[in-house]
């Protein structure tokens, strides 16, 4: 029972979604739209589980008093403050259980935390990529063997476009770079995508047929 019903559910909904794709009729669309709506709603319930996990892990760390036990306190303070700001706000001058008003967010602190804490950290994390792309290039682009050399040469050709001191060979480098990006790139990506498509389709089919059940904890 505990395992059969979920597997039956997977099969029923999987097969329905396949058939739905070929049936343009209204009733099939109607169910399709409902199903997608449901998944969003279930996702919110799952998020509650997630937050619960976050709180539990943080509290456990604080209790254990191991190294860095103080930092989870910051996580919890941030979490509860932001929840407070997210769930209470002013509307028509009174504090209440509000989020949006006609003028925008009902709690300015929610916006401030977003603009001056989330955004700077987020864009700086993203900007770390500039450093990491350099260190990865330095570390990995060594002509160890044929494959690594091909990787290295292709990357150098494309990056050379930015060198203003190439003189007469400049235009050729630019042409070579755009050829690399247009032709072999297209071929390789297409080969990978066809492979991925097949792998995905096979996996999806195995899931629907109940052959692959790794996600239910059973191989």
């Amino acid at each position: 029972m505990r395992r059969q019903i979920p597997l039956a559910l997977v099969f029923i909904f999987g097969v329905f979604m396949i058939f739905q794709y070929f049936v343009p009729h209204e009733s099939s669309e109607w169910i399709y739209e409902f199903l997608l709506d449901w998944i969003y709603i279930i996702g919110i319930f799952a998020l509650a589980l997630g937050i619960w996990s976050l709180i539990r892990v943080s509290v456990a760390k604080i209790k254990a008093r191991k190294a860095n036990w103080g930092y989870p306190i910051i996580t919890l303070v941030g979490l509860f403050l932001m929840i407070l700001f997210g769930f209470t706000g002013y509307r028509d001058g009174s504090l209440g259980f509000h989020f949006m008003t006609a003028e925008g967010l009902s709690n300015p602190m929610f916006r401030n935390f977003f603009d001056y804490i989330l955004i700077p950290i987020q864009s700086t994390m993203f900007a770390l990529l500039a450093f990491f792309i350099a260190s990865a290039a330095y570390r990995a682009f060594r002509a160890r063997n044929v494959l690594a050399s091909l990787l290295l040469v292709a990357a150098l050709v494309v990056m050379l476009r930015f060198n203003p001191y190439l003189g007469p060979i400049g235009p050729y480098v630019a042409d070579a770079a755009s050829w690399l990006l247009n032709v072999p790139n297209l071929a390789a990506k297409r080969a990978i995508i066809i492979g991925i498509g097949l792998g995905m389709v096979a996996t999806a089919l195995k899931i629907i047929l109940g052959i692959e059940r790794g996600y239910m904890g059973k191989g």
């Binding site: 450093f131 350099a134 290039a137 150098l156 930015f162 400049g170 630019a174 755009s178």
Partner: protein
């Protein structure tokens, strides 16, 4: 107060700063090269430091590199340059604020070039979100830098019309059907710029600047292919590879990303040195890019040198 105190010496300092930072990068790379000749690996923090300086220094003390326009960019420049004064050029600003940092520099450079040459420029946009940007850049470039030019005579702003490629479909045969008036409500018939322009066929050059849909592709398919008017384009870097197939038949040239803008600006400044003081944002934005690319390439070369040396040593043993 504090800002003023800071900014005055900085201007004077910027030359010194430029020299110091370039010397630091150059000498530093040399030192690392010597170290790696002894087969010593570079700590990744050193790589990080160099990247930081290579990006920060050109922002703080504008460092620009001489760009040589590639053929695909120079073709657009040469076309604008070779048209006689008074030619009718249409500039379509098909982008939104999100894309603007990448394509606004080329839009500015091309408008500046056209007006310097004395062309009659028709501005328009297919993007609702592009209208405000168009108005701003008109205020800045056209009215700010060329105050002697008259609206409706030397240039005209048609503004935004909804309908995406359908707008193009109509102006191919008739401008007035889609744009009875310009953005200010002045009837096209009362403007001298439209005296002998009825449709896109009567233009001498069309340049579309954009990066999304509708954009360059739609201009090519719905206008360029249907009338025999040369078309140039400027797009965001990510879109450029998809448009290469249209060059050189359907597009006479293409500016891709900030680099395309920088190449255009350098060509413009070479031809008209007095325009340099009006700003070359493309070249300025290319400063950090060029320096960072060169530093990364230098590190790749250094890494390979130390790799080969250490491998040779191992073999000797």
């Amino acid at each position: 107060m504090l800002d003023a105190a800071f900014s005055i010496p900085l201007v004077a300092l910027s030359d010194i700063g430029r020299v110091i930072s370039l010397m630091f990068i150059g000498a530093g790379l040399l030192w690392i090269l010597i170290r790696s000749l002894r087969a010593k690996e570079v700590d990744r923090r050193i790589v990080f430091l160099f990247i930081f300086i290579a990006v920060a220094a050109p922002i703080l003390f504008p460092i620009t590199f001489q760009e040589r326009a590639t053929l695909i960019v120079r073709k657009v420049f040469d076309k604008v340059e070779s048209l006689p004064a008074g030619s009718k050029v249409l500039l379509a600003f098909d982008f939104d604020p999100a894309m603007a940092p990448e394509v606004q520099p080329m839009a500015d450079a091309i408008s500046r070039h056209c007006l310097t040459k004395g062309h009659n420029v028709i501005f328009m946009t297919l993007w609702a979100t592009g209208q405000a940007l168009l108005t701003q850049s008109l205020e800045r470039v056209v009215k700010g830098e060329f105050p002697e030019n008259r609206d409706g005579v030397d240039y005209i702003n048609l503004g935004f019309k909804a309908g995406n490629e359908n707008v193009l479909n109509i102006i191919v045969t008739d401008f007035r059907m889609m744009f009875p008036t310009d953005v200010n409500g002045v009837p096209l018939d009362s403007t001298s710029i439209f005296d002998d322009v009825r449709s896109c066929k009567d233009l001498d050059l069309i340049i579309s600047i954009g990066g999304g849909k509708p954009g360059v592709k739609e201009w090519v398919l719905y206008v360029g292919d249907r009338v025999n008017v040369p078309m140039g384009a400027g797009v965001a870097a990510v879109v450029a590879p998809q448009l290469y197939p249209y060059y050189p038949k359907q597009l006479l040239g293409l500016l891709g990303g900030v680099k395309g803008a920088a190449e255009y600006e350098s060509e413009l400044v070479r031809q008209y040195p007095h325009l340099e003081e009006r700003g070359t944002p493309g070249l300025r934005m290319m400063g950090p890019q060029t320096l960072a690319h060169m530093v990364i390439m230098a590190f790749i070369v250094i890494g390979n040198i130390s790799f080969f040396i250490s491998r040779r040593r191992e073999r000797k043993r």
